[in-house]
Symmetry: C2
Subunit: 296 residues, 2 copies
């Protein structure tokens, strides 16, 4: 495994993930078929699968079972996919384009998009509850995923984000918002992957949290940089939307150059957090590189 190039590793995880997601989604041959079709539409053929990659990369730290990693990764990815479906709806960000395709409420309808998100969230918890690890560890993973998804995690971050449109946020407030909105799910990806390998010591959790914080913020800083500099075709979503919506971003607060420097600093922080894990952390380091260097 460690001989494989990062590109090759990433591609193989992405392909395996697609297979796992199809298997773990409700079949489109079962009723209600339109809902199940829309769930597939929302989840499959989607993006770089950063969260599943993090689950697998963290699982490599402790040689976790690959099938259990695929299950945890699918659960996190379904939470992520549901949040995108709901965030794109007219009452939230009102976005018509996602990953170069019409968003779910455009392709289907709003009621369907609402239900797709709701059903995907339930499906995520069901999948994780059906894992084959010892019950206590499986329960710990469920607790972490639920907390990362709820009002002290992703949903809370989205609420703060909505409330901050048109406001001037401080850098600290912006960071808090993203720590919840995006960071919580990235963090839980790392933790679930590691937990699938073994029960974690406090020291290990602290190191993984440092890594997650660094890449979580880097992810957002780079997002803001790309939103300000890339075009819609490259991004696969509407570019320049944050500025148009008058949303505070790292670029609007720090400027472009300082934002890029911050992303580089965060990559260094991420590397430092992984030192104790040695060569087994290779994929996590490479993912930090990916997050900072990505062009879309």
């Amino acid at each position: 495994m460690t001989e494989q190039s990062f590109e090759g590793w990433m591609k193989s995880i992405q392909v395996e993930m697609e297979v796992a997601l199809v298997k773990l989604l409700p079949s489109v041959t079962q009723k209600p078929a339109r809902l199940h079709e829309a769930m597939h539409y929302a989840v499959l053929d989607g993006g770089k699968r950063v969260r599943p990659l993090l689950v697998h990369a963290a699982g490599a730290l402790f040689d976790a079972d690959v099938a259990e990693l695929a299950r945890a990764a699918a659960a996190v990815e379904m939470i992520h996919a549901y949040s995108l479906v709901h965030d794109d709806m007219p009452c939230m960000d009102d976005d018509a384009l996602r990953r170069g395709k019409p968003t779910v409420h455009v392709k289907y309808d709003e009621a369907c998009a609402l239900l797709v998100g709701d059903a995907l969230q339930a499906q995520a918890f069901e999948i994780l509850a059906e894992g084959g690890l010892d019950a206590a560890r499986q329960l710990a993973m469920l607790r972490l995923l639920a907390k990362a998804s709820g009002s002290f995690g992703m949903c809370g971050g989205q609420a703060i984000d909505l409330a901050s449109v048109g406001l001037t946020l401080s850098l600290q407030e912006l960071e808090q918002m993203h720590t919840l909105k995006t960071g919580a799910l990235l963090r839980v990806s790392v933790l679930l992957g590691a937990l699938a390998g073994k029960a974690l010591s406090e020291n290990e959790i602290a190191a993984l949290d440092q890594y997650s914080s660094a890449i979580g913020l880097a992810f957002q800083v780079v997002d803001d940089v790309l939103d300000a500099t890339a075009d819609s075709a490259t991004l696969g979503k509407t570019a320049g939307k944050d500025a148009a919506d008058n949303k505070p971003t790292y670029v609007s607060i720090l400027g472009l150059e300082q934002s890029q420097a911050l992303a580089e600093k965060l990559r260094t922080d991420a590397y430092r957090a992984l030192e104790q894990f040695g060569d087994k952390a290779r994929r996590l380091r490479e993912l930090a590189d990916l997050i900072v260097q990505r062009k879309a």
Copy 2:
């Protein structure tokens, strides 16, 4: 406990439930405060708490720990509450009144209502994952709740309901829809309550499922009867809405008299299913009575 009147028992569960829900919801003193306030608004001071009553009544079959029952009941009730918040939204049933109060999207806004529902679902799974039963049983409860909530349960039923507006459903199709939309959550209430007491035999599960099917359908039949006969003030929601929306109902298919006779027959079925449990099933029998005889 068994000396207590049904009214007294019900009242005490309802009061205890309110306390448990406040304790198990995120505090409104914590950020994001508006989201947390809206979550409280959606869940507290809400209705008869039929599902929590079922959890406690089923728990009495096997002398389950009351704190564990309260936790399971709160989890089910949060799923129920989130589904009401989302169902009331403009893109679904577009209802402005719920339990005599403005619905969440009217009182707050649509984006907030969407997030309230999403966060409540996560909260439900978090609460249940934090229970104190042995991990294997707790996991089994989580699997049941997730399945009952998702596309083969409540969300699936809602999808079929939306797709059936303006269509002529057969009695069997109508039953299938309600079995998912309302029945799945009532069934899981009974199963979680019983499971909080002990691991269940197949025979016990079959009996409880018969009971749940009967009261689940009775619940819907009576809902349809009330929607056709009661006024909005008594119901605490907009009466006559199904007819106005051209939705198929038991009353529109069977007529009023036959619908009332069906509800009575279902009560008898529910009683019969409980025979093996003897006196310990007293509260479950009384809840079947409540469901059939309720006026709102």
